[in-house]
Amino acid sequence: MLTEKMEEYLEALFKLSREEEALNPARLSEHLGVTPPTVLDMLHRLEADGFVRYGGTGKGRGKGKVYGRARKAISLTPKGERAATALVRRHRLSERFLTDVLGLDWESAHREACKLEHVLSPEVEEKLAEVLGNPETCPHGYPIPDEKGHIKEEEEEIKPLCDLCTNEKGRIARVEEEEPQLLQYLASLGLLPDVDIEVKEVAPFGGPLLVKIGDTQYALGREVASKIWTKKRRGRVRRGPRWTGDARVR
């Protein structure tokens, strides 16, 4: 039986495991805001119950270095993954319920959902999904896993924009942050994370790229394009960025 604390750890691991950085106790403790010894303690319990693998498998291994215990990689076992997606599903369904039906704002919806996710029974969860019309995303735009823990859309390979071919489509994953000026300029043009982008033309010999975003085409030099990372979508298209649907307009 999982305690509320354990569930919180699983949820955090679920989130962090979807990021690019190696997942280790140090990162987990930073994310949760608790001390490394506490994290290690809990990890041992989760490991004992078969929810996580810790210390040797997963990312970050085989680099030929001896890592301290706190640097060793953590990963979720299939059992842990199932438990985590179920939690995430309850959390995101609750958020939808709290914003759509009760009219809470996003921030408080998130806070309340953190509490609700631990107490919802499977029946309530099922009814909730039914009443809400089986929503695909939470109010923040993240996908809601289905009953079997399957997530509709998971991004695959991440690569820089300049590696895309002509007529290839992708979605911007992130823009490198070393040059805040460039970042902000690109942001003002709408070159932002989670925006769909299509390469229309690639000039040969390392020339610039012609890309299309929405209704606009831009020429981007190769070195600019190398700082924009894209992810390719697999499966169904997410229902658009999170702002569609409700125009917050007065």
């Binding site: 704002d105 996003w106 921030e107 942050e177 805040p180 000026q181 460039l182 970042l183 902000q184 300029y185 690109l186 942001a187 003002s188 043009l189 709408g190 932002l192 994370p193 989670d194 925006v195 033309e201 000039a203 040969p204 010999f205 390392g206 020339g207 610039p208 012609l210 929405g214 209704d215 606009t216 085409q217 831009y218 020429a219 981007l220 030099g221 190769r222 070195e223 600019v224 960025p241 999170r242 702002w243 569609t244 649907g245 409700d246 125009a247 917050r248 307009v249 007065r250």
Partner: protein, 678 residues
């Protein structure tokens, strides 16, 4: 933050009852609309240290004087580029009664971003939905009334090129300015969690900043300032750092920004930008309907050919060839026409008049040199420039130049520039002066310096005339081509070298591309005139004064006193006669005169040579080659130096001049050495 006030802006403000600012993204037809609603009297104003200009004009509407401030076309109002900062200052500091935001109906979502920023800043706004004809053709229909309702500001649909709707727009604008109190501009509210944080910061700002402090910050509303701080806007953050109350505010805004970052997993500035794009996108989606786009029209297909590499490069070569042909033929014909007019009606009579008034002496003869200088401006520079500028404005307004920049970006990158610099470089073949002014399209100083160096090395029409008249005529066509080839290599080598040795990196290309548009003749002509005016006001006076000085030196005989100190350079190093050295030095004042000057000086200094002699009578073919080479490479002329001085300042312009002189001497010396060996 220094409060730099623009004199011209204040003058307009004093004269006009209301001041409207025109704002919009680049390429939305803003300059066309500006030119349509104003007359010829356009003033330009520069913020110190900035190259982006503000255009100002006075116009009359319903018997009221209205000042129009044309802000530079920008995508946003941040502090990330000069044009954005100039646009923002124009609004915050110029305090127009109304901002007319021009929106492209084809791309409403992206265009609304700027409008939302104006609302964030608390500016009274009216929207002009431009290019509605093109949008309808592309199957995009906009519900103007709904858009106006959602935005809470009047929206007027227009077709700027034809002038449709502009009367209505100005009318609405005037009505709005007159009844300013009736309109309340409401900013949009962001997502709840971000909005509540903005308000928290705004409250703190209101509490801790007093009125006079506001003044120094251009007086934005607390909410506007809060957003700017969360966006980590350089200008405002720096300004706050300098005042005691600022520290606490910056600390708070840093904390709040960190909160947002933690919650949304991105920098607060980006999250806010994304929110704004989101709001803009959903408004556009609400008010626009799209039919399936039929066939792409001719302009679109043609445009695709120009950006595709296989077809684009041949098209580019053909266009460049046509431009050069138009320059040589059209320019030549115009030059003939102008020079007949000048000799018959102005130059001749003026010269006789001067002699009649002052008699024949050193002074009057020098004055005649000055008159000749003015004639040269009219006969040699102006015809080519006129043609070139008209073509340039057409290419620019149709959107073809963007395709060119796209195609040439890779190559230009090697030279430390990017695609946008190709235009000034080509235009340098006509005259270096406007080419140097054209470097303003480049965004960094590094690029502008590199571009100026390369431009100076590109032979202009005057230097091509020297090469043709000297080398091709007396030495042969082969050597003339060899010389041009050498100069071409020098230009490329200089670019490669500068790219290596200059600190920094060339900025990446980020440029909007849009299909061809029909240029407006009015705008083309006005642009041409604006550019010609720059040339006439800056270059022409320098050439006239230079000619006068040259005349004085020559007529008084002083010029020959320089022969002795020059000897080691000319005879020993370059291996050319001393008079040739003189001609080289004074060609700085009038480069197209280098050959004529050489003959005139030789006739005085060398017995048996007359002004109609052949160059071969006192110079060998090798010497002529060396002479033309040096003449072509060193700093082109006083006018070019003057304009580089204005663009880059004293230090860099003198450095460029000096380095070209050194380069010319090195090349000349090398040529001399090679010639001795053969």
């Amino acid at each position: 933050m220094k409060q730099e006030r623009l004199e011209q802006l204040e003058k307009i403000r004093r004269k006009a009852e209301y001041v409207f600012a025109l704002a919009g993204n680049p390429n939305v037809g803003k300059s066309t609309i500006f030119n349509r609603i104003t007359g010829m009297g356009v003033m330009t104003a520069n913020y110190p240290g900035m190259t982006v200009e503000l255009n100002l004009a006075l116009t009359e509407l319903d018997g009221r004087k209205i000042g129009i401030v044309d802000l530079p076309g920008t995508y946003a109002l941040g502090a990330v580029s000069e044009d954005q900062m100039v646009a923002r200052r124009g609004v915050l500091q110029g305090k127009p009664d109304l901002v007319i935001v021009i929106l492209d109906a084809n791309n409403l979502a992206r265009n609304l971003y700027l409008l939302l920023q104006f609302l964030d800043l608390g500016c009274p706004v009216i929207a002009d939905l431009n290019l509605v004809d093109e949008a309808e053709k592309a199957g995009i229909h906009t519900d103007v009334r709904l858009l106006s309702e959602i935005l809470g500001v009047p929206v007027v649909p227009t077709v700027g090129v034809r002038g449709d709707g502009l009367g209505e727009l100005m009318h609405q604008a005037l009505k709005m300015a007159e009844g300013k109190e009736e309109y309340h501009i409401l900013p949009f509210s962001y997502a709840m969690d971000i909005e509540s944080r903005i308000r928290r910061l705004a409250r703190q700002i209101q509490r801790s900043l007093s009125e006079p402090l506001y003044e120094t910050l251009y007086n934005p509303s607390p909410r506007a300032l809060a957003i700017l701080l969360l966006e980590e806007d350089r200008e405002f953050v720096d300004a706050l750092r300098e005042i005691p109350e600022g520290k606490g505010l910056l600390e708070l805004s840093g904390r709040i920004a960190a909160e947002i970052e933690k919650e949304h997993g991105g920098k607060a500035a980006l999250i806010i930008a994304r929110e704004r794009h989101g709001i803009a996108g959903s408004i556009a989606a609400n008010v626009q309907e799209r039919r399936a786009h039929d066939r792409p029209h001719l302009g679109e297909r043609l445009w695709e050919y120009t950006t595709s590499f296989k077809t684009g490069i041949p098209i580019l070569l053909v266009v460049m060839g046509l431009v050069l042909l138009a320059l040589f033929w059209g320019g030549g014909a115009l030059a003939d026409l102008f020079s007949r007019f000048w000799d018959g009606y102005v130059g001749g009579p003026l010269g006789r008049g001067i002699e009649a008034a002052f008699g024949v002496n050193t002074f009057s003869q020098s004055l005649k040199w000055a008159v000749d200088g003015l004639g040269a401006v009219l006969q040699i520079a102006l015809p080519y420039l006129l043609i070139f500028y008209i073509i340039l404005a057409f290419l620019e307004d149709s959107g073809y130049l963007n395709s060119v920049a796209f195609l040439t970006d890779r190559f230009m990158h090697r030279l430390g520039l990017h695609g946008r610099a190709v235009i000034p470089l080509i235009s340098a073949v006509g005259c270096n002066v406007p080419a140097v002014m054209g470097t303003r399209v480049l965004s960094t100083r590094r690029e502008r310096i590199i571009a100026c160096v390369l431009i100076v090395l590109v032979p202009c029409s005057a230097r091509i005339a020297v090469i043709m008249g000297g080398v091709a005529r007396y030495v042969g066509v082969g050597p003339a081509l060899l010389l041009l080839g050498m100069i071409f290599v020098v230009v490329i080598a200089a670019g490669l070298l500068l790219n290596k040795i200059m600190p920094g990196e060339s900025a990446g290309l980020v440029m909007e591309m849009f299909p061809f548009r029909r240029p407006s003749l009015v705008t083309v002509l006005k642009k041409t005139w604006q550019r010609l005016k720059d040339f006439l006001y800056i270059a022409a006076p320098l050439i006239v004064v230079g000619s006068f000085i040259l005349g004085l030196l020559y007529e008084s005989g002083w010029i020959f006193k320089m022969t002795t100190p020059l000897k080691p350079f000319t005879e020993w190093w370059l291996g050319v006669p001393a008079v040739a050295g003189l001609a080289l030095i004074f060609a700085f004042l009038r480069k197209e005169l280098a050959l004529a000057l050489l003959l005139v000086l030789a006739a005085q200094a060398i017995p048996g040579v007359t002004e109609s002699s052949s160059l071969l009578e006192f110079m060998s073919r090798g010497q002529i080659f060396t002479f033309a080479l040096v003449c072509a490479v060193y700093i082109p002329c006083v006018a070019t130096l003057g304009v580089i001085w204005r663009e880059l300042g004293a230090r860099d312009s003198l450095a460029i001049a000096a380095s070209t002189v050194v380069l010319a001497l090195l090349l000349g010396g090398a040529a001399h050495l090679v010639l001795i060996i053969i």
